[in-house]
């Protein structure tokens, strides 16, 4: 009886470990690039992706679209209102957007969204909040611009003066 009990515990432990390993595997982040290159492997399957949220959150009926950037690859993600509220920062000029991790179903041609390539998010978490990137003014460019400004004004005034001079000469010649 004792042996059977120990065997049962070992079996349950092994099963538990392998189950947790399976979960860990399903949470493994897939580069978006792979979703484009190995379509047949992932189409219609549950996938986990991550990337920076860029641009805008766009409404589509009761749902919303966000685009995430993972290296050079982009993916449209369909999210709900609750998931939308988790996103605080969108990537734009001078702003690095939130980095989010999304678990959801990948479609090469989504039947709901008129054939879009998308992921319908089931779980969304913010891995890293976005932040502002300072864009300092370049002093050298300001100095060059001021010098050029002075030169331009001088040239334009000189050209204007010459034009008036030429017009006057022309009129005198006509007389």
């Amino acid at each position: 009886m004792k042996k059977t009990f120990i065997l049962l515990i070992i079996t349950l432990l092994v099963a538990g470990i392998s189950y947790s390993k399976d979960i860990k595997n399903s949470e493994e982040v897939i580069p978006i690039k792979n979703l484009f290159e190995q379509v047949s492997l992932y189409d219609g399957k549950e996938v986990v992706v991550q990337g920076e949220v860029i641009g805008d959150i766009m409404r589509d009926g009761e749902h919303f679209w966000v685009n995430i950037k993972d290296g050079d690859a982009f993916m449209g993600i369909v999210i709900d209102a609750l998931q939308k509220d988790k996103i605080g920062c969108l990537g734009r000029y001078g702003i690095i957007g939130d980095t989010i991790k999304v678990r959801g179903t990948y479609h090469l041609h989504c039947p709901v969204h008129y054939g879009e390539r998308d992921i319908h998010a089931e779980k969304l978490e913010v891995l890293e909040s976005g932040y502002t990137v300072p864009k300092p003014l370049r002093i050298d460019r300001i100095v060059v611009s001021i010098i050029l400004g002075v030169i331009t004004i001088f040239i334009l005034l000189y050209a204007q003066k010459q034009s008036i001079h030429r017009d006057t000469d022309g009129q005198q010649t006509k007389k």
Binding site: R59, G115, R141, L148, G149, T152, Q162
Partner: protein, 498 residues
């Protein structure tokens, strides 16, 4: 023997070039203000710098040469060809200063792509680009699509010279008796549609929860690049970014409108809607869209199983409209072409190669030329099969009733042959750099016909030689060869005179 260009020619060319450079300087003040409004101080300084640089450089030849005389044909043509190269370099400076390009060559490529309304891009990290730079990318498309010279005509060029530079920019027809009136009409049509479509797109964007400022910015930029058949977009994903069939429908509408002859627009605007049914070029254009769509459909259906008709239609038809109008907007990723069959891709190549209407913002061979060649063939067949004494007359309606003459057929055939040669040469150069023939031909036709769709060859990491090849193709394609050839003769004559 090549006729020599005299010192007088050079002076006159530089004089007019100075005027156009000054015009560019004034144009750059618009993105400067976009930067100021959005509190983008560093980009604003860049635009101020380049604007002042253009104004000062442009003023120098005006002081030195002071030759406000009328141009002859070769001077007019040379000015147009040089002007596009100078515009490319000036337009590239702010782009390069933005830090979004790996080299000045890449920035020049993008500037030529914008001015020539091609739409091929080498920008890095577009999604974090400042509004001012991004606006400039789209504004260049608008200036280029309208015609750099056309912009200058309305600003600076007067007198008998205007028609020579107007024709040099690949517009042979005067819609109105006077070229300045024609230029103003083209501006009127473009600005009217700009307002209409900006209102529509902004409404859609606002409804989709995009903030008012960004909704307006996206709408203006989308229109400028779409109407002028360039195909640039505010975000890296192009039109796919919006995930919106309605936006795709609206953009397809103004892409099609932009590829229609301005003469047809004029007829409709002046109360002659029957022109839509009678115009030979328009009828042929519709037939060509249907024929190439049939090829694309066959290629897609045979090779790939779409889940439903809408997915198939949305992917196939949008790419086809984008190709045939020369816009280059895309609602799919480049990787989608991996499951497109060679037949479907060939359908797009044919559509891109044929292009839009003459005297429109579209590129490519142009449907009217194909129509004239077809009429010419029909006329020759009639002559061969009729008694010798028969006088064969072949007519068609294009704004007015016209008769096919041998000269029309000859010129159309020459330009068509030149385009096909350019497409093939570019394709072969791509193969020389190690790319497969079909993608290479696709990219070459896309560059030469100023379309902008890409199968993935165009990237910041492609060989420099190929970038230069595509720049030349975009330039030649936009100017429809003649102005560029006159400039080459001009340069050769300078060498000979040395």
């Amino acid at each position: 023997m090549i006729p020599y260009f005299s010192r007088e020619d050079v002076g006159l060319i530089l004089y007019y070039l100075g005027k156009i450079i000054k015009g560019m300087g004034i144009m750059m003040l618009i993105p400067f203000f976009v930067g100021v409004i959005n509190k983008e101080w560093a980009p604003s300084v860049d635009f101020l710098f380049v604007s002042l640089l253009s104004l000062s450089i442009g003023s120098i030849p005006l002081i030195i040469f002071q030759e406000d005389r009328d141009l002859n044909w070769r001077q007019g043509m040379s000015i147009v060809a040089i002007c596009w190269i100078v515009a490319m370099f000036l337009g590239a400076i702010p782009l390069y200063l933005s830090g979004h390009y790996l080299s000045f060559l890449d920035a020049s490529f993008e500037a030529m792509s914008a001015f020539a309304t091609t739409g091929l891009v080498l920008v890095n990290d577009l999604d974090h680009m400042a509004y001012a730079y991004n606006f400039w990318r789209h504004f260049m498309c608008f200036i280029g699509g309208q015609g750099i010279i056309l912009v200058a005509i309305t600003l600076f060029v007067r007198g008998g010279s205007v028609f020579k530079v107007y024709v040099g920019e690949a517009r042979e027809e005067k819609i109105m008796p006077n070229v300045i009136q024609t230029a103003r009409f083209i501006w009127l049509v473009s600005l009217t549609y700009l307002v209409i479509f900006t209102v529509i797109l902004t409404g859609i964007n606002l409804w989709r929860n995009i903030s008012p400022g960004r909704a307006l910015f996206h709408s203006v930029c989308l229109f400028m690049a779409g109407w002028d058949t360039a195909g640039f977009a505010v975000q890296s994903q192009n039109v796919l970014y919006y995930h919106s069939p309605i936006i795709e429908l609206v953009t397809a509408m103004f892409c099609l409108l932009g590829a229609v002859n301005f003469g047809v627009h004029y007829a409709v605007w002046t109360g002659k809607p029957r022109e839509l049914l009678r115009n030979y070029e328009l009828k042929l254009y519709v037939a060509s869209i249907l024929a190439t769509f049939f090829i694309v459909c066959t290629g897609l259906v045979v090779h790939f199983q779409f889940p439903n008709f809408i997915s198939f239609f949305r992917e196939g038809f949008y790419q086809l409209v984008s190709s045939h109008t020369g816009v280059g907007y895309s609602n799919i990723s480049v990787q989608n072409f991996s499951y497109w069959s060679p037949l479907a891709i060939l359908g797009l190549i044919i559509a891109m190669g044929l292009g839009g209407s003459s005297t429109s913002t579209a590129g490519g061979i142009k449907i009217l030329r194909i129509g004239i060649i077809l009429k010419g063939i029909k006329k020759e067949l009639k002559i061969l099969t009729s008694p010798e004494s028969t006088i064969v007359v072949e007519k068609f309606h294009h704004i007015r009733d016209m008769t096919i003459e041998d000269n029309h057929v000859k010129m159309s055939a020459i330009i068509t042959i030149l385009y096909i040669t350019l497409y093939l040469v570019g394709g072969l150069i791509g193969v020389f750099y190690g790319y497969q023939f079909l993608p290479s031909l696709f990219e070459s036709v896309s560059a030469s016909a100023n379309v902008g769709l890409s199968m993935g060859i165009t990237s910041p990491f492609m060989p420099a030689g190929l970038k230069i090849t595509y720049i030349i193709q975009m330039w030649l394609g936009r100017l429809e060869f003649i102005s560029a050839f006159v400039l080459i003769r001009f340069l050769l004559s300078l060498r000979s005179s040395e």
